[in-house]
């Protein structure tokens, strides 16, 4: 059964997708975003897959990150930003002023460009997330800490120094710690904003491996300007250019038969 909000979405698209065995989780309808007087996002129409990696690809400064931040309403931090349109997620319009944004953000795990461990120890960082979920029992916390650190493939490296400050980890480890922290809130969606841009190739590889694992359980939205990364990871590709979506589709299709001239050029230069 669809909720009233979902009925506003193009039923035909959903039925077509579901007939192919595809399920979508986030529906962006006619999204326009203004930063002061300039328009940063123009008429964005986008469906984000449930389970799978949706890659937002495009050159720097084309609005990918901004689009990502509207999904968990971090755009609220910037008073100059105004939005029009709607983003439907689990029967609610995310852009509705009256929704519980704190509950929304707990369904969206964020992995930012640079890791930002919160002040405290490695274990503290996971605990911060568990506390939000109301888990205060010490043994349960310890068990879950291990569970999530394993899920982010960092447990083996930190199990003997959980009481050390998180800031002492290498930047690649910090990023995986932040991934573990993001998973600890049991999100529905993982928002990854160029999560490997500050990392060395080995750490990047580890993060990519984790994302490939996580796509089986979560809906992942990955922002990247790296064409190769998009090719390696994408289940669905969205090419953005100066605030507009120029091309979107399955990677097998869009990478082999690009229709848009600018996207074609981007693909050629990227090689």
């Amino acid at each position: 059964m669809s909720t009233p909000a979902e009925q506003l979405i193009d039923e035909a698209i959903i039925q077509k997708d579901e007939a192919k065995g595809l399920h979508n989780l986030i529906y962006v309808k006619d999204l326009n975003l203004y930063y002061g007087k300039s328009q940063a996002l123009k008429n964005i129409e986008l469906n984000v897959r449930d389970k799978g990696i949706t890659v937002l690809l495009g050159p720097s400064g084309c609005g990918k990150t901004t689009l990502l931040k509207t999904f968990n309403r971090l755009t609220d931090l910037y008073p100059d930003i105004r939005t029009k349109g709607s983003i439907y997620f689990q029967g609610e319009n995310i852009l509705d002023k009256n929704i519980d944004v704190y509950a929304l953000r707990q369904k969206m795990g964020l992995l930012s460009q640079r890791p930002y461990p919160l002040p405290g120890t490695i274990a503290d960082n996971i605990k911060y997330a568990l506390k939000v979920r109301g888990i205060t029992n010490k043994t349960e916390q310890a068990d879950l800490t291990e569970h999530y650190l394993k899920k982010a493939a960092i447990w083996e490296e930190v199990k003997d120094r959980l009481k050390q400050p998180a800031g002492r980890l290498s930047i690649g480890q910090q990023q995986r710690l932040c991934l573990a922290r993001g998973l600890s809130i049991e999100p529905r969606v993982i928002l990854a904003d160029e999560p490997t841009s500050a990392l060395d190739p080995i750490s990047s590889g580890k993060i990519e491996e984790q994302l490939m694992e996580l796509r089986k359980e979560y809906s992942v939205v990955l922002v990247t300007h790296l064409l190769r990364q998009a090719k390696r990871l994408a289940d669905y590709v969205v090419f953005m250019y100066y605030g507009e979506i120029l091309e979107k589709g399955r990677p097998q299709v869009v990478f082999n038969e690009p229709k848009n001239a600018i996207f074609k050029e981007y693909l050629e230069v990227g090689h």
């Binding site: 971090l74 931090l77 008073p79 964020l110 405290g120 997330a129 809130i185 928002l191």
Partner: protein, 283 residues
């Protein structure tokens, strides 16, 4: 071409001379205080209250002012922290969404910073009369706390500005409320700033004369409760320096020396503490 070299030389000379004047002024000031204060400094001066009245008595020391100043400055700094910390955190958790309002608050705080201390003194005095108190340690603590709060808020504000917005975003995206982020994360991240702001305010509070002139009163004794008047070091200098009796004058210089040393210690330790704490900070 030669003209340019000459200009450069003259400009360098002027700048150097001005710098030398400032440094010279500072050292001659410190020198005078040490020169005149050092001979009077003795264990008796530091450990005794004045005997026979602070203005005429030749015996005794300035312990009343040392203890009074310590009580006053520490009390005022603690009270100011209690006021300033919530304000500064509020400015950085809820107010960033209202940048114009935030800028106005900063402007007002800067104006308050520039208000002469005597005005705070007069304000405190009127407040005192309004509630029917007499000159007392508590009245002085409240007045000085009001005086140093704007300084403290702005110092905390500046140090919170350096906390990366990524940290706030990380905490928000876990589902934390903005207020929680303030005292759970921003505060811990900005601990060096808090220490520096506290000591900065302490130094300003201990050295200020005009704001306590009406409010603290003056006494030869060490205050035993908040309702009693208290002597302070700046007023010990002010009242005793005009005395015709050389011993009393000597006490004034001794008080000035003690005050200068205390402020020097506070400012140096504030630098050391902030440097030490910054090392353990993330980023």
């Amino acid at each position: 071409m030669k003209k340019k070299y000459l200009e450069e030389k003259i400009a360098k000379g002027i700048l150097g001379a001005l710098t030398a004047i400032i440094v010279l002024a500072l050292f001659s000031l410190l020198g005078t205080i040490v020169w005149k204060g050092a001979p009077s400094i003795s264990w008796e001066i530091l450990s005794q209250v004045p005997k026979g009245g602070y203005y005429f008595g030749k015996e005794g020391g300035i312990l009343n002012a040392i203890v009074g100043s310590a009580y006053l400055a520490i009390g005022a700094a603690i009270l100011a922290v209690l006021i300033s910390l919530p304000v500064a955190l509020y400015m950085h958790t809820h107010l960033p969404c209202h940048p114009r309002f935030l800028e106005k608050i900063r402007l007002m705080l800067d104006v308050l910073w520039g208000v002469p201390p005597i005005v705070y003194g007069a304000f405190g005095f009127n407040l005192m009369l309004l509630v029917g108190w007499q000159s007392s340690l508590l009245a002085a603590i409240i007045t000085v706390a009001l005086l140093i709060s704007p300084i403290m808020i702005r110092a905390l504000d500046e140090s919170l500005k350096h906390v990366n917005v990524g940290l706030t975003e990380a905490a928000l995206s876990l589902g934390y409320f903005r207020g929680e982020i303030g005292y759970k994360f921003l505060l811990r991240q900005t601990m060096p700033g808090v220490a520096t702001a506290f000591l900065l305010a302490l130094g300003k509070g201990i050295g200020d004369t005009a704001s306590v002139l009406f409010t603290a009163g003056y006494t030869d004794y060490i205050p035993e409760s908040l309702a009693e008047p208290a002597a302070t070091l700046p007023l010990a200098v002010f009242f005793q320096l005009s005395s015709p009796i050389p011993e009393v004058k000597g006490r004034a210089y001794a008080a000035a020396l003690v005050l200068t040393v205390i402020i020097l210690v506070i400012s140096i330790s504030s630098r050391l503490i902030s440097r030490h704490l910054s090392k353990n900070r993330i980023q």
